[in-house]
């Protein structure tokens, strides 16, 4: 599995695997390989879903006018009223 894999790619591949397995005309050996790949993808996706909340970032231009990302100060966002 590639390190750069995104959730989106994984979900797309799962859909493909699902269709291939369903089609029924692939050899058993291949379907076991697909099964193994599918389980890995499922675990990858479950891992993604289990990841902790990311800190909110802020995009803006600095004094030199360069575009950049910095963590947002949470206190600037009002809480629930």
């Amino acid at each position: 599995m590639k390190k750069t894999q995104s959730f989106e790619q994984a979900m797309k591949r799962l859909e493909e695997i699902s269709q291939s397995l369903e089609s029924g005309d692939i050899p058993l050996e291949d379907s076991i390989k697909l099964y193994e790949e599918g389980i890995k993808l499922i675990e990858f996706c479950q891992g993604k879903l289990g990841e902790a909340e990311k800190k909110v970032q802020k995009l803006g231009r600095n004094t030199e006018g360069e575009l950049g990302k910095t963590p947002l100060d949470d206190s600037s966002i009002p809480g629930e009223e």
Binding site: S6, I17, S18, L21, L28, I77, E81
Partner: protein, 399 residues
Amino acid sequence: MEKHIYSVSSLTRQIKEVLETGFPRLWVEGEISNFKRHSSGHLYFTLKDENSQIRCVMWRFKAGELLFQLEDGLKVLVEGDIQVYEKSGNYQLIIQQMQPAGIGELQLAFEQLKKKLQGEGLFDAVHKKVLPPYPEKVGVVTSPTGAAIRDIISVISRRFPSTEIILYPVRVQGEGAAREISSAIADFNEYGKVDVLIVGRGGGSLEDLWAFNEEIVARAIFSSRLPVISAVGHEVDYSIADFVADRRAPTPSAAAEMVVPDRREMLGVLAYYREKFSQTVRQKISTGRERLENYRRSYAFRRPEDIVFQKMQQLDELIRKIQVAILHHLQIKRHSWHNIQQQLRALSPLGVLQRGYSICYKDGRIIKDVSQVQMLDLVQVKLSRGQFLSQVQMLGEGE
């Protein structure tokens, strides 16, 4: 009584005075006709009703405050001052402010911009981009202090916590807000490392939401390569931004729900896949096993086996035959070897000597004829065992 004769100028000046003081700042309602925008930016037109008309001028610095566009046939309410233009002897209305009659100016501006952008095709379905199904990074253009960002953060972190939210803080109302919003959209596109944008704010009056009805914002949304979800105000509020955006969300919370899938739903989908995959493979294995069993039992499968066995049997027989043949051959060979040995032995001169014969040599050569020797020659005689030297004493032919 002497006639008082005015000069044109003094008459005009008096008329001007009477008119301009007699009609202090006033409101007039009428319909615009002969509208002209001079290259200087000043606006010239005539205000008319069924019977009359009056010339009007709106200077550039006032015209710039207009939210809506002037056009012939537009009914307006204007506030202005009567002014006599002495050079041509005309009177005209210098307009200080203007609003549409019977409709709010914002409403009119909204309708006009909507019509214009629609005409240019900015709302066409062909331009609508598809939202990414599982964005990793979501860009948000809104106020850092508004309800919108708070709602978006809370919904996204509940539904898909690993999503990165990147806020571009802007003012969402008041002077300059539209420019800030549009350049934030452009900056996100330049930055590029987000999958989708949410542009919006919480609820407010039409004036509060106005920035999202400005052309500059509409153009920025239209030019965005990143898909844009508009989320302006409440359910009932429609903005120009909503029409240009790739998707309209009724509220910022709704935009957040639209932009990321629900974690629990996704876990359900994954569990479904897992179950389906296992089931399919299990089924395939059992079907395969069944089929294998059928093959094993079938004549079609046994036949090749039979052929193999038959061939093996044939092979065994052949090997046996070959072995017999080899043995036989060897025996024959061994037998004939024995004979040859015997023959050889019989033919050997040594064998002849054994039987009592001897060989005579003279000067190393075998003597086969009496002519080879003379009287008193020394002759070497070789026996089966040993040898001796003899002297010829007698010569004779035959026995």
